[in-house]
Amino acid sequence: MTSHVPAGATSKGRKGNPAGRRALPLPGPGFWWTAAVTVAGVLVALALSSALIAATGGSPADSVAALFQGSVADATAWTSTLLYTAPLLLVAVGTCVAARSGLFNIGQEGQVLIGAMAGAWVGLRLAVTGPALLVCVLVAAMLAGAAWAGLSALMHRYRGVNVVVSTLLMTFIAQQVVAFAVNTPALLQESRIGDGTLAPQSNPLPPSALLGSFGEYPALQVNGGLVLAVAGAVIVAVALSRSRWGFKLTMLGHNPDAARHAGFRTTLLGGGALALSGAFAGLAGAVLLTSPIGVNRLQPGMAMNIGWDGLLVALVARNRPLLAVPVAALFGVLRSGGSFLAATGVPAFLVDVVKALLVLAFVAPPVVVGMVRRRRMARAGAKPVPALEEAIA
């Protein structure tokens, strides 16, 4: 027998490398390639964006200035940025949970709406006073979001319906349900005051159901929603990397057969992860409803694509909750800066184009690098393993 080096004897730097990082090929050559390609991608995206803005008659320099002013230039801008960051982060964290289990929940936009609707219902109809009402609103929103995503899990379990398809289509149903609710006086439509016309929206929530902020205008205000979102990200990050549940979920995501073989109840585990991701989306809906981001009324358009953008946040953060925090902030910058930019005459849809280009710049490189390496490896017969062994033996 050749001399075996026991694994323990050769492991280095273990403490500084928690297992939660395993998905990222960190120190390998792939990492540097990915980093380089990402930087190049961002530069290309910025160049293309500038060209687009110039082509539509705007000034790229003015646009950057406007983006900057509207998002991070002063306390007010930061307040607005962070208000957007919170729901984006909540959606992204939920996406991370589902993705870890190998399921792709892409129906967050609908789950956000359903969560907001449940929150509005509880906030307007429940005879609870004081801060307890806010807690009820948040919990109701989470449960409703979980239930909405849970429906997809059930469809998958009993009828084999593809989760991607069902979560997506449930979004359109959610939009109709909310539209119906705010158009039906017996449900959630606003009360008639005098003989004015009724808008498709609910009454405003009572002040006790609203999320407060730390800080006073004109200083920076940090809404409670952000605190919830960051806490959620940290808790999920720790749970995924350290808990038994996270371990099982990771195993399920990497290899469902192995998880089943190890005796885990994979249906429950996967369905639970899907429901939990729905709960986070529902909570995002409640934050949209109860924070000063909007008018604190249930409106059909109140989700503002937060559900879709939250997905993108998770995509850029490669499904890692802690990385999602800065990425969500970046998307918050684009949103708050984007609305400011629209005021300078640049068409609002261009902001979306810029956002899409940036997302591509972040998402494409690891895929491209992986593809190139795989092809190179396939051509080379894919035998790096013995070398690795010999190198350490």
Binding site: M1, P6, G8, R242, S243, F247, K248, A262, G263, G381
Partner: protein, 552 residues
């Protein structure tokens, strides 16, 4: 099957059909092919022997235009040939039958045969050609049959016909017998001899089984670590010499010999006294195991001790409407190694999946240490004390993208966690202990299992399964794809497990393996147990008849 059948070496013609000179290929730091020279003459079967990773596949891929060589020349009939694509190779008369068939199951035989042709499709002509080739070489096949309805042996015939129809001058066969019964293997070699003797084609037979190389080839080239280490006339070289060249050191008999496939498979020929000794040694091992098996039972004195470690009763499994197992019954006593031998595709996979908890049988029971197991409960088999080395290691044996440590503890999280959290300290402690005990070589405990060699992955699975203290260990094809050292090690550890009182069920398609390890051999054929023989009474012939579904 009988070595003496080998026709005397004909004088090689001046120009070999295929001549390789100085073929070199590097993959980064690894030299897969290090200046390989190879001459294959018309009218000979040339054996290419080597362990996994010795460079056999790389060489053949270069020959087929799938891989581009860094250096070296290829001469076909004396003329330099630049082969840059599989199409080139086919046009120059190089044909290959791959180990894993490249047939499309939903199509018929003739459709598969003409696949890749250009021009219009003429069904009658194609069927005619298939029939013609099939008669000429004695490869009976129905051109209109769908491939999915064919046995592994028949599928190989289709692959052969597909190759031979293109009239190749060099025919390469990669591990052709791995899916064949003994009888089918003999038939194959008869066809090959015909192809070689009467049509002067050149055949390259790639194998890691020494017995096969010794039986079927005229000349042999042994590769080790990308180099040609030996090259000669097969008849002048004993299997032990080949074994020594292949492994690079003197090989002992017993498990190692079995790993190399040099235990007597046919009637013991003269000059094989050494192998005879191995057989005696093996019988002793078998007896010793039985002796040990009795000891703990007697010591306990409890009635449960009499119960078999594993009792399978009338298990029936139907997958997609096809019965994979039918009334399958088998017992494994504590401390005993029982082999389930048979040709691939006779229900072993269904049994493995069932015992892995991935399939629930239509009927039948599984008892472990005397207690029935509720098979519809996830993880029930594992909790009841069944460890398993699954056939498809990557399918559910390991999670390739999780770390070595995580893979080692994933089935016993209770042992390394408390209050919902996995204790990393305890996980690493357990993992380090198991990695040392089972000699798992890994860059670190945090390295993904993907970065481990096959042998180390397999040891990892074994370590995890045995760490749970099972009463029965199921090892399905535990040595598939491992090199000789790893195979020996696996044999040693399986024996040790049995010696410690674990009942071992070895599911294997390798005759040498079951003969070397098991005290009893059950033969599986078409999802049923065709018969059970004590190893002492088992011969290749009797097992072969059982494999074919006949009584022995």
């Amino acid at each position: 099957m009988i070595i003496d059948e080998r026709v005397a070496e004909p004088a090689p013609p001046p120009e070999p059909a295929l001549r390789l000179r100085g073929i070199r290929k590097r993959y980064g730091p690894i030299v897969a092919s290090d200046g390989v020279d190879l001459d294959v003459h018309h009218g000979e079967i040339h054996g290419l022997l080597g362990e996994n990773g010795a460079g056999k596949s790389t060489l053949m891929k270069i020959l087929l235009g799938l891989v581009h060589r860094d250096e070296g020349t290829i001469l076909l009939n004396g003329e330099p040939a630049s082969i840059t694509s599989p199409q080139d190779a086919a046009a120059r008369g190089i044909g290959m039958v791959h180990q894993h068939f490249s047939l499309i199951e939903a199509l018929t035989v003739w459709e598969n045969v003409i696949l890749g042709d250009t021009g219009g499709i003429d069904r009658e002509a194609a069927c005619g050609q298939v029939a013609e080739v099939s008669v000429r070489y004695g490869l009976p096949i129905d051109p209109l049959a769908r491939v999915e309805s064919l046995s592994a042996g028949e599928r190989q015939r289709v692959e052969l016909i597909k190759c031979l129809r293109r009239d190749p001058s060099v025919l390469i066969l990669d591990e052709p017998t791995s899916v064949l019964t003994q009888a089918e293997s003999s038939e194959l070699f008869t066809v090959l001899r015909h192809v070689v003797r009467t049509e002067r084609r050149a055949v390259i037979l790639i194998s890691h089984k020494l017995a096969e190389i010794a039986e079927a080839t005229d000349r042999v080239t042994v590769l080790r670590r990308g180099r040609v280490v030996f090259h000669g006339v097969t008849a002048d070289t004993g299997p032990r010499e080949l074994a020594r060249q292949m492994v690079g050191r003197e090989v002992s008999l017993g498990a190692e010999a079995a790993a190399l496939g040099i235990l007597p498979v046919g009637p013991a020929a003269d000059g094989r006294a050494a192998d005879g000794r191995a057989e005696v040694g093996r019988a002793e091992v078998g007896r010793a195991e039985v002796g040990r098996a009795d000891a703990p039972g007697a010591g306990d004195g409890a009635p449960a001790a009499a119960a078999p470690a594993l009792r399978l009763r009338e298990l029936t499994v139907t997958v997609d409407g096809v019965a994979r197992l039918t009334d399958f019954s088998l017992d494994v006593a504590p401390g005993e190694i029982v082999a389930l031998y048979g040709v691939e595709g006779n229900g072993q996979t269904a049994l493995g999946d069932l015992l892995a908890g991935l399939v629930v049988p239509d009927k039948g029971t599984v008892e472990i240490a005397g207690r029935p197991v509720a098979l519809d409960r996830p993880g029930a088999l594992h909790r009841a004390g069944l460890g398993i080395i699954p056939e498809d290691r990557h399918g559910h044996g390991v999670v390739l993208d999780m770390s070595v440590a995580e893979n080692l503890v994933m089935k016993s999280l209770d042992g390394v966690s408390g209050r919902g959290f996995v204790s990393r300290r305890r996980m690493y402690a357990t993992a380090r202990r198991l990695a040392e005990e089972f000699a798992i070589t890994a860059p670190s405990l945090d390295a993904p299992v993907r970065s481990l060699s096959g042998g180390n992955q397999q040891r990892l699975v074994l370590a995890r399964e045995l760490s749970a203290g099972p009463s029965v260990l199921v090892a399905a094809q535990p040595t598939h794809g491992l090199d000789v050292g790893a195979i020996e090690d696996m044999y040693r550890r399986l024996r040790a497990a049995a010696a410690s009182g674990v009942g071992v069920l070895l599911i294997s398609t390798e005759l040498e393996e079951v003969m070397a390890l098991a005290s009893r051999i059950a033969v599986i054929s078409a999802g049923r147990v065709a018969g059970v023989l004590p190893t002492g009474e088992a011969t290749a012939e009797r097992l072969g008849m059982l494999v074919g579904g006949m009584a022995a």
